[in-house]
Symmetry: C2
Subunit: 302 residues, 2 copies
């Protein structure tokens, strides 16, 4: 089924205890589309870059099966740039640089060819941009998934609450769920958040896996205990891309199939962290993915 995503396509510079990168391709939209294109093609992307964004990066996306008609290239402007440094535990990081550049006035234009998309993934971005995109869709999609973060809760809560009320699935981490709901218990938090609009809630817990909530049901997905997390950048976006990619491929939005989608998303994320940036995601095969999903089965079977 057709899949549309909006999200940043950007430059990242990453420093971890294992090394550092120059400016490499990054951004939520990049990770989401690469991950989702593993399941369904084409993945239509709405995003914006400056004229400093290398043509070969765009070719990389296209080779993965990403439809870049909705990728705006702004002449004379610069691409969004983020630089960060991870601490030794790899669970926390400092942001060293954030240059919004083209993202500051991003108008999410939806090409005519993108209309009729049945699955929509709103990658982490200003909630005002996310809701504008939904409003520009001529047909109601089958499923809209929203990923966001505490930054928008801090500076644009009203816009965020509006966007949350328009989506079917919300994906946030445990601290964000607590902040948004004012509840420490994730079960209580989930109830309050689902009352804000989304029928489904995914709570990401990093190295502890993820929870999927729907009505009174809950599913707990483990994270694969890895020997080494090399670079966590993009893991949450990769998860989201795998989640919606699997749903679009199977075209089944039952709770039981969403559980599987959470596992496939988790499996994709477990690859993402094994190398810098998108490097590992561009290497893996279908057999790699199936073997990894099998590891998740063995991990939880009793």
């Amino acid at each position: 089924m057709s899949l549309l995503t909006v999200g940043s396509v950007a430059f990242d510079a990453i420093e971890t205890p294992f090394g550092k990168t120059d400016k490499i391709i990054g951004g939520a939209g990049t990770y989401i589309t690469i991950s989702a294109s593993f399941f369904t093609k084409p993945v239509k992307v709405v995003a914006v870059v400056g004229d400093d964004f290398p043509k070969e990066y765009i070719s990389t996306l296209e080779q993965q099966g990403v439809d870049t008609e909705g990728l705006q290239i702004k002449e004379g402007e610069k691409t969004f740039f983020w630089a960060g440094k991870y601490h030794n535990d790899m669970n926390s990081r400092d942001t060293l640089v954030t240059e919004l550049n083209v993202l500051e006035h991003f108008d999410p234009i939806v090409p005519a060819n993108y209309q009729g998309s049945e699955y929509v993934m709103l990658g982490n971005l200003s909630p005002q941009v996310q809701s504008t995109l939904i409003e520009r869709l001529e047909n109601k999609p089958k499923l809209v998934v929203l990923d966001t973060m505490n930054f928008w809760m801090d500076i644009a809560l009203e816009d965020l609450m509006k966007t949350i009320s328009m989506v079917d699935v919300l994906s946030i981490n445990d601290e964000e769920a607590r902040q948004l709901s004012g509840e420490y218990s994730l079960r209580k938090a989930a109830k309050k958040i689902m009352a804000m609009g989304p029928k489904y809630l995914i709570i990401k817990k990093g190295e502890h896996g993820a929870l999927l909530f729907h009505e009174d049901k809950v599913f707990s997905a483990p994270a694969l205990p890895l020997e080494e997390v090399f670079d966590p950048t993009g893991a949450g976006d990769t998860f989201a891309g795998g989640f919606i990619g699997y749903l679009a491929k199977t075209d089944d939005i039952s709770f039981d199939n969403m559980k599987k989608a959470v596992i496939y998303g988790s499996a994709m994320a477990s690859f993402c962290v094994e190398k810098f940036g998108t490097e590992r995601l561009l290497e893996i095969t279908e057999a790699d993915l199936e073997a990894r999903v099998k590891e998740f089965e063995e991990l939880t079977n009793f």
Copy 2:
């Protein structure tokens, strides 16, 4: 199969955001034996109390199926007493009072009737007391499980390393696994710790569940997302009691059966936190437990 445990039988005074207790029955040995007696009877306990310990508390243990022949009552001495206060997140606590009393010179005497026990659970105690107990067993047990904590790593590491080298299964939490191994990655930590002696390692992660390691295998057990954690005191001991109780009942120490034992232990712990102290554990029925284990199955099935 016969089950022997050593651990503190004590007074606790607990304060949580939901209320506070007077001195109630507590201690690792108490939670372990009550939890284990749900699976197999009698549970033989080696412990020590003072003459201030109420007869009705001992009767409570006996009614649950605990053999108290090894419970020493020291005339003119006082029972171990711990008081603590939980913070609002229920994940951290302050110790308000620790009175060692009879525990200071505890000599773990093993009654003749206790010899030949096939399953042995060493509850959290001084590692020197734990190793003394093992040395006093005339026959090698089928399985020895050790629970300990960071306190002993800080003040008695050498004794602890000796005790660790004598057991089959070690049960500690994630921070303790990192402290003991010097590794942040739990997978790496597990390798190093299993090289210290134990063939199996359980890493408890509180609200995030538990991991069971053996050779290259790993099992991830979820925690049940609860609406409310009322009192976490004794949850880890209750887990340990359920774990070894299930193994002693089924008399099967394969990795596959240990996975089930981790789930049964987790289910027992999920009851423990629902009320103050041991209150909830004394109420539950076999049907309650089976229903809870079913919830764990539904939680992880995909």
